[in-house]
C-alpha cells in the first residue's frame, strides 16, 4: 500500500516546542485522514531542530467510490422547492426518480485521488498549526514558528503538487547545516529520506538523538574515569538543539570547585546547557563538563572544548563574585530588604510574610518535637537569601543558598538545615524534610502560603494553579504523614488566618484614622457627624477621602484621640464581619482542599476510594489519624467478621432509612428487651458490653482495636436481623432505637454507609 512522507523544513525550531509539535502533527494528520475516510496502517511523526516529519503507511491512492442517496421535494411540491433542490445538488430534473411520492436522486460519487486530499490536508495543517508563538517573515503572510523553507511531500513516490504561500512542494530535503555541505537531496519515500538524512548527518528521531548523547557522554566519562550527573530535563532540551549531537568534554578550572556544587550545576545548566560530571562514588563535582555540540569538528572538538571552557570560567567568575559579595553582606541586611519585596499585592511584603511564618513555626514546633526558639529563628532567616545576589541570579537556588550562607556564618547546623530544606518537597519525587526543626519551618512556610491564597480567594481551579497550591498541600500531607505527628490542622489554619486578618485590619485602622482626622481638619464633617456615621459604608468613605492616608503632624490631640476611638470601633466591627463572612469559609474550603489532596494521595497508594470517603465523612482534621483509620478499616473489611458486619450494617441502615421516610425516628437509648427474646437480648448486651472498650480504643487512637471490638457485633446483629421483626407495632420504637445504636456505635469508627459492597 502506498506511503505518504511529509517534511516541513524550517529555520531552527525552539527546543521546548518540538515534542508537542510532533504530537500535534500526528493528531491533526490522523483527524484529517479519518475525515477523508482513510485509516493508515501506521503513522509516525518526528520533530527536530529544523524539521517536522510525518510518515503514514498504507494509504489507498484514492478514496473509494460512494453512492449517495439524495432526498428531494415531495411529488407535487412547488416548483421553487424543486429548483432549489436541483441547484443545490447540481442535478437536472431528468436525473431524479420518483419513489414513494418523493423525488430521489441516486448519485455516484467518485472517490477523490488521495493526493488531492493530502494537498488540502497539508495546507490546512500548516495554516492552522497550534504553535505556542508564531511569526511572519519577508513579504509573506504565512505564520510558522520560524520561517518555513521547504515542503517535501511524496505519496507513493510521487510528489503531491501544491504550493503554500509561494512554497512549492517537492521531493527534496536537505541535511546538516554545516556537515552535510547543505546540499539538497531527493527522497521519494521514507527509506530514501532516512538514508539521505543519515548520509547528511541528521538524526531524525529525538529518542535516537537522546540515546546518542547519553552514549557519547558515557564514553567520554569512561575514558576519563568520570561519571555523568544525569539530568533528564537537560537531555530533552539539548536533544532539540542539535541535528547531529556530539558530546564534547571540556575542563573547568578546579579552583571553582570551592563553590557549592549546586551553584556550579545551575550555572552550567541554565546558562550553558552543560552536563556536570563527578568522580564515581563521590558526592561533589569533578572539574569538567560536557557540552553537546551540533558538529563533529575537524579538530576533534578541541576548539569547541576550549571556547566553552572559557565561557564557563566567566560564568563561574560571576558566581564567585556573587558569593563573595553575599558573604560580605549577610542575613540581617538581606532581611531588611525583604520589606521592599512584595509577596503578593493582597498579602503584603515578604517581611510581613516572614513574621507570619515565624509565628506559625513557633506554634508548630512543640507539636513536632522541635525547639520553639530555634524554629522561630530558622523561620526568621529562611527567606533572607531571596535578596542575596546569588539567588537573584539563580532563583532556583533559594533555600539552598540560605543553608550554605548560614553554615558559612557559623549558625546552628540545625537552623542551617531548616533554612536549606524548608521549600521541600518540591515535587512528588523530592524527599521530605525529617529533622524536627526543618519539619516545623517547612510546614509553616507551606501552610502560610495556603492560608494566604485561600483567604484572598486565589484557589486553584481546573488546570490553573499559578501559586502551586496543590504542590504545597501535597507537601504538607507528605511531611505530616511521613513524620507521623498528629495534630489538628484546622486550629493552625485558623490561627494563621487570624494573623492575616489582623494585618489587614491594621491597614484599615490606619486609613480610617487618617480619613477621619483629615475630614475633621478640613471641617468637612463635625465630630457629631462622624459619630453618627459609624456605619460600614460611611466610614469606608472616610478611609478613602485621603489617598495618602497620613495623619498630619499638626492635628490637635483631641481629634487624634477621637479618630483612634472611631477607627478602633470600626475595625472591631469589620473584623468580626470579615472573619465570619470571608475568613472562616475560606478556611473551611482550605480544609476541604486538604481532604481532596489527601484522598488523591491515599488513592495513589492504592487505598480504596470508598474507604477514604467513609473516614472523611467523620470530619476529622488530623491527617495521621485519618490515615490510621483508613488502614484499620481496610484491614477489618478484609476479615470475615468485617465483611459480614458490613452487610449487617447495610441491612440495618436500610431499615432505618425506610422508616425515616415515614417520620422522625424515635430518639434515645434502647431499653432492655424482654428476656424471652434471645436475639434482642443478645444484641442489647453486645452493644452494652461494647461501649466501654470501644471508647477506650478510640481514645487511644487504636483503630485496629476498635474494629476488633466491633467484630463482636457481627453475630448478634445477624441474629437480630434474621430473627426480629422490627416493625412489630408494640416494639417498633425500641427496635429502631437498637438499630440506630448499632449505626452510631459503628459510626464512631467510619461511615460504613459509604463503604461499597
Amino acid at each position: 500500500m502506498p506511503q505518504l512522507l511529509l517534511e516541513l523544513f524550517s529555520e531552527e525550531i525552539p527546543a521546548r516546542m518540538q515534542g508537542q509539535a510532533a504530537k500535534d502533527l500526528e493528531r491533526l494528520a490522523r483527524e484529517h485522514l479519518a475525515a477523508a475516510g482513510f485509516l493508515p496502517e501506521a503513522l509516525k511523526t518526528f520533530a527536530g531542530p529544523r524539521r517536522l516529519t510525518l510518515v503514514a503507511e498504507g494509504l489507498p491512492l484514492a478514496q473509494a467510490d460512494r453512492k449517495e442517496e439524495l432526498k428531494g421535494p415531495r411529488v407535487g411540491a412547488p416548483q421553487q422547492a424543486m429548483d432549489g433542490f436541483l441547484r443545490k445538488a447540481g442535478l437536472t430534473q431528468d436525473q431524479l426518480v420518483e419513489q414513494n411520492g418523493v423525488w430521489m436522486a441516486f448519485v455516484e460519487k467518485k472517490g477523490r485521488p488521495t493526493a488531492e486530499i493530502v494537498a488540502e490536508m497539508v495546507e490546512a495543517i500548516v495554516r492552522g498549526f497550534p504553535w505556542p508563538k508564531s511569526m511572519t517573515w519577508g513579504t509573506g503572510k504565512l505564520r510558522w514558528v520560524r520561517p518555513l523553507k521547504r515542503i517535501l511531500c511524496v505519496l507513493d513516490r510521487e510528489v503531491v503538487p501544491f504550493a503554500i504561500d509561494g512554497i512549492q512542494s517537492g521531493d527534496v530535503s536537505e541535511g546538516h547545516r554545516f556537515m552535510g555541505e547543505a546540499k539538497p537531496f531527493v527522497a521519494k519515500d521514507f527509506d530514501e529520506y532516512a538514508a539521505g538524512l543519515e548520509a547528511h548527518f541528521v538524526v531524525l528521531d529525538v529518542e535516537e538523538r537522546k540515546a546518542r548523547i547519553l552514549e557519547g557522554c558515557k564514553t567520554l566519562c569512561f575514558a576519563r574515569h568520570l561519571e555523568l550527573v544525569e539530568d533528564i530535563g537537560l537531555l530533552e532540551e539539548v536533544a532539540g538543539l542539535a541535528e547531529w549531537p556530539t558530546p564534547v568534554l571540556g575542563d573547568m578550572d578546579p579552583s571553582f570547585l570551592d563553590l557549592p556544587p549546586e551553584v556550579i550545576r545551575t550555572s552550567m545548566r541554565t546558562h550553558q546547557k552543560y552536563f556536570a560530571v563527578r568522580k564515581p562514588g563521590e558526592a561533589g563535582l569533578a572539574p569538567h563538563f560536557i557540552t553537546v555540540a551540533n558538529i563533529e569538528a575537524k579538530d576533534g572538538g578541541k576548539v569547541i572544548a576550549a571556547g566553552n571552557a572559557k565561557v564557563l570560567s566567566s560564568r563561574l567568575s560571576d558566581a564567585r563574585f556573587f558569593w563573595d559579595e553575599d558573604v560580605k553582606t549577610g542575613f540581617e541586611p538581606w532581611l531588611a530588604k525583604l520589606d521592599g519585596v512584595t509577596f503578593h499585592a493582597k498579602l503584603g511584603t515578604m517581611a510581613q510574610r516572614v513574621e507570619r511564618i515565624v509565628a506559625l513555626a513557633g506554634e508548630i514546633a512543640p507539636l513536632v518535637g522541635a525547639d520553639v526558639d530555634k524554629a522561630k529563628e530558622a523561620a526568621r532567616l529562611a527567606k533572607a537569601d531571596l535578596t542575596s545576589q546569588m539567588v537573584g541570579e539563580f532563583p532556583e537556588l533559594q533555600g539552598i543558598m540560605g543553608g550554605y550562607y548560614a553554615r558559612h556564618f557559623g549558625l546552628d547546623p540545625e537552623i542551617a538545615a531548616a533554612i536549606q530544606d524548608h521549600y521541600k518537597p518540591q515535587g512528588p519525587s523530592d524527599a521530605v524534610p525529617t529533622a524536627p526543626l526543618s519539619v516545623a519551618v517547612a510546614l509553616a512556610d507551606k501552610l502560610d502560603t495556603l492560608v494566604g491564597f485561600f483567604a484572598i480567594d486565589e484557589k486553584p481551579t481546573g488546570s490553573k494553579d499559578p501559586f502551586a497550591l496543590r504542590r504545597a498541600a501535597l507537601g504538607v500531607i507528605r511531611i505530616i504523614l511521613e513524620s507521623g505527628h498528629a495534630f489538628a490542622l484546622s486550629d493552625l489554619l485558623r490561627g494563621q488566618a487570624a494573623l492575616l486578618l489582623r494585618a489587614e485590619m491594621q491597614e484599615v485602622f490606619n486609613s480610617v484614622r487618617a480619613g477621619v482626622v483629615n475630614a475633621q481638619l478640613a471641617a468637612r464633617v463635625s465630630d457629631a457627624e462622624v459619630q453618627l456615621a459609624l456605619t460600614d459604608e460611611a466610614l469606608h468613605a472616610f478611609a478613602i477621602l485621603d489617598v495618602a492616608a497620613t495623619v498630619p503632624d499638626s492635628a490637635p490631640e483631641a481629634i487624634l484621640v477621637a479618630a483612634e476611638r472611631i477607627a478602633g470601633a470600626f475595625v472591631d466591627q469589620r473584623s468580626g464581619v470579615e472573619w465570619r463572612n470571608a475568613y472562616l469559609p475560606a478556611m473551611d474550603h482550605l480544609l476541604a482542599f486538604f481532604a481532596d489532596r489527601l484522598k488523591v494521595t491515599l488513592k495513589d497508594q492504592g487505598k480504596r476510594h470508598d474507604l477514604v470517603d467513609a473516614v472523611f465523612a467523620l470530619g476529622d482534621d488530623d491527617l495521621v489519624r485519618i490515615v490510621a483509620r483508613v488502614e484499620a478499616l481496610d484491614g477489618f473489611l478484609k476479615t470475615d467478621d468485617g465483611k459480614t458486619l458490613l452487610a449487617g450494617y447495610k441491612r440495618a441502615a436500610n431499615i432505618l432509612k425506610a422508616e425515616e421516610k415515614k417520620g422522625a425516628l424515635p430518639e434515645g437509648e434502647p431499653e432492655e428487651p424482654a428476656a424471652d427474646s434471645a436475639a434482642e437480648v443478645g444484641l442489647y448486651q453486645a452493644l452494652r458490653l461494647l461501649k466501654a472498650p470501644l471508647a477506650e480504643a478510640l481514645a487511644k487512637e487504636d483503630f485496629t482495636g476498635a474494629m476488633a471490638q466491633l467484630a463482636a457485633l457481627r453475630e448478634p446483629v445477624d441474629a437480630y436481623l434474621d430473627g426480629v421483626f422490627v416493625n412489630d407495632p408494640e416494639h417498633r420504637d425500641n427496635r429502631l432505637k437498637t438499630l440506630a445504636a448499632v449505626r452510631s456505635a459503628m459510626g464512631q469508627v467510619a461511615d460504613f454507609g459509604l463503604v461499597a459492597g
Binding site: E12, M135, A297, K298, V303, K310
Partner: protein, 298 residues
Amino acid sequence: MPAAPKSFQSLILTLHNYWSEKGCVILQPHDVEVGAGTLHPATVLRALGPKPWNAAYVQPSRRPGDGRYGENPNRLQHYYQYQVILKPNPADMQDLYLGSLEAIGLDLRTHDIRFVEDDWENPTVGAWGLGWEVWCDGMEVSQYTYFQQVGGLDVSPVAGELTYGLERLAMYVFGVDNVYDLPFNDPDSPLGALTYGDVFLANERQQSEANFHGYDVAVLKQQFEQMEQQVPLMLARSYKNETLVLPAYDMVLKASHLFNLMNARGAIAVAERASYIGRIRDLCKMCAQKWVELQEAA
C-alpha cells in the same frame, strides 16, 4: 577570501565590507546617546512602513548602570554593537549571517554554531520579535530577530535584525580575556599599536563616576520632563507637509537616555520604573505612528 581581521577596527571593517558587498548601505552611528543599536532611527523607524531598507552600521551603546570604572574585564557602560537590518528579510538571511561569521575568521566546520531560542523584546519602544541567540562554542555572539512589532505597530514586510556584540565577539575571535587588552588597531602598526584600554579606559572611569555620582538627579528629571513635553509639540509641526518625526524621535531617545541615567543614579523607585518606561513607550508610539503615515503617503 581576504585575510581574517587581527584587530577590533579591522573586525568592524571586515563586517562593513561584507555587508556592503551584500548591498547594504553602510551608515555611521546616530549622534544621540542610545542604550542599544536597535534604537538608531535606521532600525526603529525604518523597520516600519512598506519600503525596502537594508543597512548596516556600528552604534555605540550606553548602559550607564553597567559602568565598572574600567575594573571589570567584561562589562562596559559604553560599548559597540554592529547592527544589520534587512527589510524585507531575504530568504537566505541565515546563510548571509553565517557568511559574515566566516568572513571574520570563524571556521564553521571547527566551531559549534547554534541557534538557541530567544524572543527579543524592547518594552521602551514597544517592539518584539522572534529569533535566536546565536551561540559560538557556548558563547552568545549575536542576536538574530525577525521584527514583528515596533512602536506597537505590525512590521510588514518583516525586517530581519542582526546585532553583534563587537567587543565580546572580538575577544572571542582574538582569544583575549580582558576587553581592555583587545588590539584596537593592527598590532604591527608602524605608527604604534593601541589597545582598547588605551582608547577607552579613561572614558570608562570618568563616565562611571559621572553615571553613579556625577549627574544631578533634579536636573536629569527636569530634562526628562522637558523632552517629554517637546515630543508632541515637535510632532505637531511640519515642513512641506512632512511631520517632523525625526527630530521628535531624537527627543524620545534623549528622554530614554535621561531615564537610564536616573536609573543608574538609583533615583527611580521600583514602583516608578514601569511608569517611566510606559511614558517613553507612548512617545515612541506617537513617532512610529507618524512615521508610518509619512511612509504610506509617500
